[in-house]
Amino acid sequence: MNAAKVRLWLVRLYPQEWRDRYAPEFDILLEQCLHSPLDVVDVFLGAVDAHLQLLNGDKVNWRTLNMVNKLRTTLLIVFTAYIGFIIAGFSLVGLADDSPMLPLMKTNHTLAFSWTMIQVGAVVALLAVVIGGLPLALMVVRRAWMTNRRRLGLLLVPVFSILALMLYVGFIFLVGTSSIQIAGVFPVVPSGNFPPGNRLMLAGLMLVFILGATASALAVWKIVSSIDPEQETLHITGRRLTVRPYTFALVPAVITTVSMLVMLVATLTWGWMAFSALPQVYAGNYGPWQTNTQVWFYSIVILMILCTLAGFFGLARSRSARIGT
Protein backbone atom coordinates (compact mmCIF):
# COMPACT_ATOMS: atom_id res chain seq x y z
CA MET A 1 0.00 0.00 0.00
CA ASN A 2 1.55 3.33 -1.00
CA ALA A 3 1.70 6.44 1.20
CA ALA A 4 -1.17 8.22 -0.56
CA LYS A 5 -3.48 5.27 0.05
CA VAL A 6 -2.49 5.11 3.73
CA ARG A 7 -3.29 8.82 4.09
CA LEU A 8 -6.61 8.38 2.33
CA TRP A 9 -7.47 5.49 4.63
CA LEU A 10 -6.52 7.52 7.71
CA VAL A 11 -8.55 10.55 6.65
CA ARG A 12 -11.53 8.27 6.03
CA LEU A 13 -11.47 7.27 9.70
CA TYR A 14 -12.88 10.71 10.54
CA PRO A 15 -16.62 11.55 10.38
CA GLN A 16 -17.94 12.88 7.07
CA GLU A 17 -18.71 16.31 8.57
CA TRP A 18 -15.15 16.61 9.81
CA ARG A 19 -13.75 15.52 6.44
CA ASP A 20 -15.90 18.06 4.59
CA ARG A 21 -14.17 20.77 6.55
CA TYR A 22 -10.62 19.59 7.21
CA ALA A 23 -9.74 16.75 4.78
CA PRO A 24 -7.70 18.70 2.15
CA GLU A 25 -5.49 20.52 4.66
CA PHE A 26 -5.20 17.47 6.93
CA ASP A 27 -4.10 15.34 3.99
CA ILE A 28 -1.29 17.73 3.11
CA LEU A 29 -0.20 17.81 6.77
CA LEU A 30 -0.05 13.99 6.79
CA GLU A 31 1.95 14.12 3.57
CA GLN A 32 4.56 16.19 5.39
CA CYS A 33 4.65 14.67 8.86
CA LEU A 34 3.46 11.07 8.86
CA HIS A 35 6.77 9.43 9.74
CA SER A 36 6.18 6.77 12.36
CA PRO A 37 3.59 4.25 13.60
CA LEU A 38 3.03 6.58 16.58
CA ASP A 39 1.75 9.23 14.17
CA VAL A 40 -0.72 6.69 12.78
CA VAL A 41 -1.90 5.90 16.32
CA ASP A 42 -2.23 9.64 16.99
CA VAL A 43 -4.40 10.10 13.89
CA PHE A 44 -6.48 7.10 14.91
CA LEU A 45 -7.07 8.62 18.38
CA GLY A 46 -7.95 11.95 16.76
CA ALA A 47 -10.55 10.22 14.59
CA VAL A 48 -12.04 8.45 17.63
CA ASP A 49 -12.21 11.81 19.41
CA ALA A 50 -14.03 13.41 16.46
CA HIS A 51 -16.59 10.58 16.45
CA LEU A 52 -17.02 10.90 20.21
CA GLN A 53 -17.73 14.60 19.86
CA LEU A 54 -20.60 13.74 17.53
CA LEU A 55 -21.86 10.94 19.80
CA ASN A 56 -21.76 13.25 22.81
CA GLY A 57 -24.05 15.59 20.94
CA ASP A 58 -21.55 18.41 21.13
CA LYS A 59 -22.73 21.36 19.14
CA VAL A 60 -20.22 20.75 16.40
CA ASN A 61 -20.77 21.99 12.92
CA TRP A 62 -17.36 21.88 11.38
CA ARG A 63 -18.47 23.13 7.99
CA THR A 64 -19.86 26.35 9.38
CA LEU A 65 -16.71 27.04 11.38
CA ASN A 66 -14.76 28.06 8.36
CA MET A 67 -15.28 31.72 7.60
CA VAL A 68 -14.93 30.95 3.91
CA ASN A 69 -17.97 28.70 4.26
CA LYS A 70 -19.76 31.58 6.00
CA LEU A 71 -18.91 33.84 3.09
CA ARG A 72 -20.20 31.28 0.60
CA THR A 73 -23.43 30.89 2.57
CA THR A 74 -23.81 34.68 2.61
CA LEU A 75 -23.56 34.86 -1.17
CA LEU A 76 -25.96 31.98 -1.69
CA ILE A 77 -28.49 33.55 0.70
CA VAL A 78 -28.29 36.89 -1.12
CA PHE A 79 -28.59 35.12 -4.50
CA THR A 80 -31.67 33.17 -3.35
CA ALA A 81 -33.19 36.34 -1.89
CA TYR A 82 -32.60 38.03 -5.23
CA ILE A 83 -34.36 35.20 -7.09
CA GLY A 84 -37.30 35.55 -4.68
CA PHE A 85 -37.33 39.29 -5.24
CA ILE A 86 -37.43 38.76 -9.02
CA ILE A 87 -40.54 36.61 -8.59
CA ALA A 88 -42.14 39.41 -6.53
CA GLY A 89 -41.08 42.04 -9.08
CA PHE A 90 -42.40 39.97 -11.95
CA SER A 91 -45.74 39.66 -10.14
CA LEU A 92 -45.82 43.43 -9.62
CA VAL A 93 -45.28 44.05 -13.32
CA GLY A 94 -48.13 41.64 -14.05
CA LEU A 95 -50.37 43.52 -11.64
CA ALA A 96 -49.55 46.94 -13.10
CA ASP A 97 -49.73 45.85 -16.74
CA ASP A 98 -53.23 44.57 -16.29
CA SER A 99 -54.69 47.64 -14.65
CA PRO A 100 -55.60 51.29 -15.21
CA MET A 101 -52.48 52.19 -13.21
CA LEU A 102 -50.33 51.98 -16.31
CA PRO A 103 -52.07 54.87 -18.14
CA LEU A 104 -52.09 56.84 -14.88
CA MET A 105 -48.29 56.76 -14.79
CA LYS A 106 -48.18 58.69 -18.06
CA THR A 107 -49.80 61.69 -16.37
CA ASN A 108 -48.69 61.35 -12.74
CA HIS A 109 -44.95 62.10 -12.72
CA THR A 110 -44.36 61.19 -9.06
CA LEU A 111 -45.96 57.81 -9.66
CA ALA A 112 -43.86 57.37 -12.81
CA PHE A 113 -40.72 58.30 -10.84
CA SER A 114 -41.33 55.64 -8.20
CA TRP A 115 -41.90 53.09 -10.98
CA THR A 116 -38.65 54.19 -12.62
CA MET A 117 -36.86 53.70 -9.29
CA ILE A 118 -38.11 50.11 -9.22
CA GLN A 119 -36.75 49.59 -12.74
CA VAL A 120 -33.41 51.24 -11.91
CA GLY A 121 -33.10 49.06 -8.80
CA ALA A 122 -33.83 45.97 -10.91
CA VAL A 123 -31.14 46.87 -13.46
CA VAL A 124 -28.54 47.68 -10.76
CA ALA A 125 -29.31 44.45 -8.87
CA LEU A 126 -29.10 42.40 -12.09
CA LEU A 127 -25.75 43.97 -13.02
CA ALA A 128 -24.39 43.35 -9.51
CA VAL A 129 -25.47 39.70 -9.62
CA VAL A 130 -23.91 39.22 -13.07
CA ILE A 131 -20.64 40.98 -12.16
CA GLY A 132 -20.33 39.27 -8.79
CA GLY A 133 -21.41 35.87 -10.05
CA LEU A 134 -19.35 35.72 -13.26
CA PRO A 135 -15.93 34.85 -11.72
CA LEU A 136 -17.68 32.37 -9.42
CA ALA A 137 -19.51 30.75 -12.34
CA LEU A 138 -16.33 30.55 -14.46
CA MET A 139 -14.41 29.02 -11.58
CA VAL A 140 -17.16 26.50 -10.88
CA VAL A 141 -17.17 25.47 -14.55
CA ARG A 142 -13.36 25.27 -14.66
CA ARG A 143 -13.09 23.16 -11.53
CA ALA A 144 -16.04 20.92 -12.44
CA TRP A 145 -14.47 20.39 -15.87
CA MET A 146 -11.19 19.32 -14.25
CA THR A 147 -12.61 17.18 -11.43
CA ASN A 148 -16.13 15.93 -12.03
CA ARG A 149 -17.78 16.84 -15.30
CA ARG A 150 -21.09 15.27 -14.31
CA ARG A 151 -21.59 18.19 -11.92
CA LEU A 152 -21.70 20.49 -14.92
CA GLY A 153 -25.15 19.05 -15.57
CA LEU A 154 -26.43 21.17 -12.68
CA LEU A 155 -25.51 24.30 -14.62
CA LEU A 156 -27.88 23.17 -17.34
CA VAL A 157 -30.81 23.73 -14.95
CA PRO A 158 -30.71 27.58 -15.23
CA VAL A 159 -30.09 27.27 -18.99
CA PHE A 160 -33.08 24.97 -19.47
CA SER A 161 -35.19 27.19 -17.20
CA ILE A 162 -34.48 30.21 -19.39
CA LEU A 163 -35.13 28.13 -22.51
CA ALA A 164 -38.45 26.88 -21.09
CA LEU A 165 -39.47 30.47 -20.31
CA MET A 166 -38.52 31.64 -23.79
CA LEU A 167 -40.41 28.76 -25.40
CA TYR A 168 -43.47 29.53 -23.32
CA VAL A 169 -43.32 33.24 -24.19
CA GLY A 170 -42.99 32.22 -27.87
CA PHE A 171 -46.00 29.93 -27.47
CA ILE A 172 -48.01 32.78 -25.92
CA PHE A 173 -46.99 35.01 -28.81
CA LEU A 174 -48.10 32.43 -31.38
CA VAL A 175 -51.43 31.90 -29.63
CA GLY A 176 -51.83 35.67 -29.26
CA THR A 177 -51.30 36.25 -32.95
CA SER A 178 -53.70 33.37 -33.71
CA SER A 179 -50.89 31.39 -35.35
CA ILE A 180 -51.84 28.53 -33.05
CA GLN A 181 -55.45 27.79 -32.22
CA ILE A 182 -56.38 24.99 -29.88
CA ALA A 183 -60.10 24.45 -29.97
CA GLY A 184 -61.68 24.19 -26.58
CA VAL A 185 -58.42 24.87 -24.77
CA PHE A 186 -57.28 28.30 -25.81
CA PRO A 187 -59.98 30.38 -27.41
CA VAL A 188 -58.91 32.92 -29.94
CA VAL A 189 -57.98 35.94 -27.91
CA PRO A 190 -58.79 39.34 -29.27
CA SER A 191 -55.69 41.37 -30.05
CA GLY A 192 -54.96 44.04 -27.45
CA ASN A 193 -56.26 41.80 -24.72
CA PHE A 194 -53.34 39.39 -24.67
CA PRO A 195 -51.51 37.98 -22.79
CA PRO A 196 -52.88 39.69 -19.65
CA GLY A 197 -56.40 39.06 -20.86
CA ASN A 198 -55.86 35.31 -20.79
CA ARG A 199 -55.65 34.39 -17.12
CA LEU A 200 -54.85 30.75 -17.75
CA MET A 201 -51.85 31.47 -19.95
CA LEU A 202 -50.61 34.19 -17.60
CA ALA A 203 -50.83 31.77 -14.70
CA GLY A 204 -48.90 29.22 -16.78
CA LEU A 205 -46.22 31.81 -17.49
CA MET A 206 -45.88 32.59 -13.79
CA LEU A 207 -45.70 28.90 -12.96
CA VAL A 208 -42.93 28.27 -15.52
CA PHE A 209 -41.05 31.29 -14.19
CA ILE A 210 -41.38 30.38 -10.49
CA LEU A 211 -40.46 26.72 -11.07
CA GLY A 212 -37.49 27.70 -13.25
CA ALA A 213 -36.26 30.29 -10.75
CA THR A 214 -36.57 27.89 -7.81
CA ALA A 215 -34.86 25.03 -9.67
CA SER A 216 -32.06 27.38 -10.81
CA ALA A 217 -31.47 28.67 -7.28
CA LEU A 218 -31.32 25.10 -5.91
CA ALA A 219 -28.94 24.01 -8.68
CA VAL A 220 -26.63 26.95 -7.99
CA TRP A 221 -26.67 26.14 -4.23
CA LYS A 222 -25.83 22.52 -4.96
CA ILE A 223 -22.99 23.06 -7.41
CA VAL A 224 -21.32 25.92 -5.51
CA SER A 225 -21.55 23.98 -2.21
CA SER A 226 -20.15 20.79 -3.72
CA ILE A 227 -17.33 22.39 -5.72
CA ASP A 228 -16.56 25.24 -3.31
CA PRO A 229 -14.36 27.36 -5.57
CA GLU A 230 -12.81 29.26 -2.68
CA GLN A 231 -9.84 30.43 -4.66
CA GLU A 232 -7.94 29.66 -7.81
CA THR A 233 -4.37 30.42 -8.78
CA LEU A 234 -4.10 31.09 -12.49
CA HIS A 235 -0.87 31.34 -14.46
CA ILE A 236 -1.37 33.88 -17.20
CA THR A 237 1.61 34.67 -19.43
CA GLY A 238 4.03 33.69 -16.69
CA ARG A 239 2.27 35.73 -14.01
CA ARG A 240 0.59 34.20 -11.00
CA LEU A 241 -2.92 35.50 -10.37
CA THR A 242 -4.93 34.45 -7.34
CA VAL A 243 -8.69 34.87 -7.73
CA ARG A 244 -10.98 34.77 -4.68
CA PRO A 245 -14.51 34.81 -6.12
CA TYR A 246 -16.30 34.83 -2.74
CA THR A 247 -14.44 37.90 -1.55
CA PHE A 248 -14.89 39.55 -4.94
CA ALA A 249 -18.65 38.92 -4.91
CA LEU A 250 -19.19 40.45 -1.49
CA VAL A 251 -19.45 44.08 -2.68
CA PRO A 252 -21.89 43.16 -5.51
CA ALA A 253 -23.90 41.23 -2.88
CA VAL A 254 -24.14 44.41 -0.78
CA ILE A 255 -25.22 46.39 -3.88
CA THR A 256 -27.85 43.74 -4.71
CA THR A 257 -29.28 43.84 -1.20
CA VAL A 258 -29.36 47.64 -1.07
CA SER A 259 -31.04 47.65 -4.51
CA MET A 260 -33.68 45.31 -3.13
CA LEU A 261 -34.30 47.76 -0.29
CA VAL A 262 -34.59 50.64 -2.76
CA MET A 263 -37.06 48.65 -4.88
CA LEU A 264 -39.07 47.76 -1.79
CA VAL A 265 -39.37 51.41 -0.72
CA ALA A 266 -40.21 52.44 -4.31
CA THR A 267 -42.87 49.70 -4.52
CA LEU A 268 -44.50 50.86 -1.27
CA THR A 269 -44.46 54.47 -2.49
CA TRP A 270 -45.83 53.47 -5.87
CA GLY A 271 -48.59 51.35 -4.35
CA TRP A 272 -49.60 54.02 -1.88
CA MET A 273 -49.85 56.70 -4.60
CA ALA A 274 -51.45 54.46 -7.22
CA PHE A 275 -54.13 53.11 -4.91
CA SER A 276 -54.84 56.57 -3.45
CA ALA A 277 -55.49 57.83 -6.98
CA LEU A 278 -57.42 54.74 -8.07
CA PRO A 279 -59.26 53.28 -5.06
CA GLN A 280 -61.52 51.26 -7.37
CA VAL A 281 -58.45 49.37 -8.62
CA TYR A 282 -57.32 48.74 -5.04
CA ALA A 283 -60.70 47.25 -4.21
CA GLY A 284 -60.94 45.42 -7.54
CA ASN A 285 -59.69 42.05 -8.76
CA TYR A 286 -56.63 42.79 -10.87
CA GLY A 287 -54.46 40.00 -9.46
CA PRO A 288 -53.82 36.70 -11.25
CA TRP A 289 -56.76 34.30 -11.29
CA GLN A 290 -58.83 37.44 -10.69
CA THR A 291 -57.66 37.66 -7.11
CA ASN A 292 -58.18 40.79 -5.08
CA THR A 293 -55.70 43.56 -5.96
CA GLN A 294 -54.84 44.49 -2.39
CA VAL A 295 -54.30 40.85 -1.36
CA TRP A 296 -52.00 40.34 -4.33
CA PHE A 297 -50.15 43.62 -3.74
CA TYR A 298 -49.59 42.88 -0.05
CA SER A 299 -48.39 39.38 -0.95
CA ILE A 300 -45.83 40.94 -3.29
CA VAL A 301 -44.73 43.42 -0.62
CA ILE A 302 -44.42 40.69 2.02
CA LEU A 303 -42.29 38.58 -0.34
CA MET A 304 -40.12 41.62 -1.07
CA ILE A 305 -39.72 42.35 2.66
CA LEU A 306 -38.77 38.73 3.38
CA CYS A 307 -36.24 38.66 0.54
CA THR A 308 -34.71 41.99 1.59
CA LEU A 309 -34.46 40.84 5.21
CA ALA A 310 -32.90 37.57 4.04
CA GLY A 311 -30.35 39.58 2.04
CA PHE A 312 -29.39 41.69 5.06
CA PHE A 313 -29.33 38.58 7.25
CA GLY A 314 -26.90 37.00 4.79
CA LEU A 315 -24.70 40.11 4.83
CA ALA A 316 -24.73 40.17 8.63
CA ARG A 317 -23.38 36.60 8.60
CA SER A 318 -20.49 37.73 6.46
CA ARG A 319 -19.38 40.25 9.10
CA SER A 320 -17.61 37.48 10.97
CA ALA A 321 -16.22 36.12 7.74
CA ARG A 322 -14.29 39.13 6.55
CA ILE A 323 -11.02 37.91 5.22
CA GLY A 324 -7.76 39.70 5.52
CA THR A 325 -9.15 42.50 7.62
Binding site: E25, L29, L30, D42, V60, W62, E230, T233
Partner: protein, 102 residues
Amino acid sequence: MDNSEFGRFSDPALLILACLAGGEKHGYAMMEDIQATAGVRLGPGTLYGALSRLEQYGLIEALPADERRRPYRLTAQGTAFLRQYLTSLEKFVSLSLKRLEA
Protein backbone atom coordinates in the same frame (compact mmCIF):
# COMPACT_ATOMS: atom_id res chain seq x y z
CA MET B 1 -14.34 29.72 29.06
CA ASP B 2 -12.35 27.25 31.12
CA ASN B 3 -9.22 25.61 29.76
CA SER B 4 -10.54 22.25 31.00
CA GLU B 5 -13.19 22.32 28.26
CA PHE B 6 -10.51 21.25 25.81
CA GLY B 7 -10.10 17.87 27.60
CA ARG B 8 -7.05 15.93 26.56
CA PHE B 9 -6.38 18.70 24.07
CA SER B 10 -5.95 21.41 26.73
CA ASP B 11 -2.18 21.58 26.53
CA PRO B 12 -2.02 21.34 22.72
CA ALA B 13 -4.72 24.04 22.55
CA LEU B 14 -2.59 26.41 24.65
CA LEU B 15 0.50 25.58 22.65
CA ILE B 16 -1.38 26.38 19.45
CA LEU B 17 -2.74 29.66 20.84
CA ALA B 18 0.73 30.69 21.97
CA CYS B 19 2.13 29.66 18.62
CA LEU B 20 -0.45 31.72 16.71
CA ALA B 21 0.24 34.71 18.96
CA GLY B 22 3.34 35.12 16.80
CA GLY B 23 1.30 35.37 13.61
CA GLU B 24 -0.78 33.25 11.26
CA LYS B 25 0.47 29.74 10.48
CA HIS B 26 -0.71 26.56 8.78
CA GLY B 27 -0.68 23.12 10.42
CA TYR B 28 2.84 22.00 9.60
CA ALA B 29 4.33 25.39 10.49
CA MET B 30 2.56 25.18 13.87
CA MET B 31 4.01 21.73 14.53
CA GLU B 32 7.52 22.95 13.74
CA ASP B 33 7.14 26.15 15.77
CA ILE B 34 5.78 24.32 18.83
CA GLN B 35 8.56 21.77 18.64
CA ALA B 36 11.16 24.52 18.37
CA THR B 37 9.79 26.74 21.15
CA ALA B 38 8.24 24.27 23.63
CA GLY B 39 10.10 21.09 22.74
CA VAL B 40 6.81 19.26 22.25
CA ARG B 41 5.98 17.38 19.06
CA LEU B 42 2.23 17.36 18.48
CA GLY B 43 0.98 14.45 16.40
CA PRO B 44 -1.25 15.32 13.41
CA GLY B 45 -4.38 13.89 15.07
CA THR B 46 -3.74 15.81 18.29
CA LEU B 47 -3.02 19.01 16.40
CA TYR B 48 -6.22 18.91 14.38
CA GLY B 49 -8.29 17.73 17.36
CA ALA B 50 -7.20 20.85 19.23
CA LEU B 51 -7.49 23.07 16.15
CA SER B 52 -11.08 22.02 15.53
CA ARG B 53 -12.03 22.75 19.14
CA LEU B 54 -10.30 26.12 19.13
CA GLU B 55 -12.10 27.01 15.92
CA GLN B 56 -15.38 25.74 17.33
CA TYR B 57 -14.99 28.03 20.36
CA GLY B 58 -14.09 30.95 18.12
CA LEU B 59 -10.61 31.36 19.55
CA ILE B 60 -8.92 30.92 16.19
CA GLU B 61 -10.15 31.32 12.63
CA ALA B 62 -9.17 29.85 9.30
CA LEU B 63 -7.92 32.03 6.48
CA PRO B 64 -8.24 31.30 2.76
CA ALA B 65 -6.14 28.33 1.72
CA ASP B 66 -2.76 28.96 0.15
CA GLU B 67 -2.67 26.17 -2.43
CA ARG B 68 -3.91 23.31 -0.19
CA ARG B 69 -2.49 24.62 3.09
CA ARG B 70 -4.84 26.60 5.26
CA PRO B 71 -3.38 29.16 7.65
CA TYR B 72 -5.03 30.01 10.96
CA ARG B 73 -4.88 33.07 13.14
CA LEU B 74 -6.03 34.15 16.59
CA THR B 75 -9.38 35.88 16.90
CA ALA B 76 -9.87 38.80 19.29
CA GLN B 77 -11.57 36.36 21.65
CA GLY B 78 -8.61 33.99 21.37
CA THR B 79 -6.14 36.77 22.12
CA ALA B 80 -8.12 37.81 25.20
CA PHE B 81 -8.39 34.19 26.37
CA LEU B 82 -4.64 33.59 25.97
CA ARG B 83 -3.76 36.86 27.71
CA GLN B 84 -6.05 36.06 30.64
CA TYR B 85 -4.67 32.54 30.96
CA LEU B 86 -1.03 33.60 30.76
CA THR B 87 -1.60 36.39 33.29
CA SER B 88 -3.11 33.96 35.79
CA LEU B 89 -0.28 31.52 35.08
CA GLU B 90 2.25 34.29 35.66
CA LYS B 91 0.71 35.07 39.06
CA PHE B 92 0.78 31.38 39.94
CA VAL B 93 4.43 31.04 38.89
CA SER B 94 5.38 34.18 40.81
CA LEU B 95 3.62 32.98 43.96
CA SER B 96 5.18 29.52 43.70
CA LEU B 97 8.67 30.96 43.27
CA LYS B 98 8.20 33.18 46.31
CA ARG B 99 7.19 30.15 48.36
CA LEU B 100 10.26 28.28 47.19
CA GLU B 101 12.49 31.21 48.17
CA ALA B 102 10.88 31.60 51.58
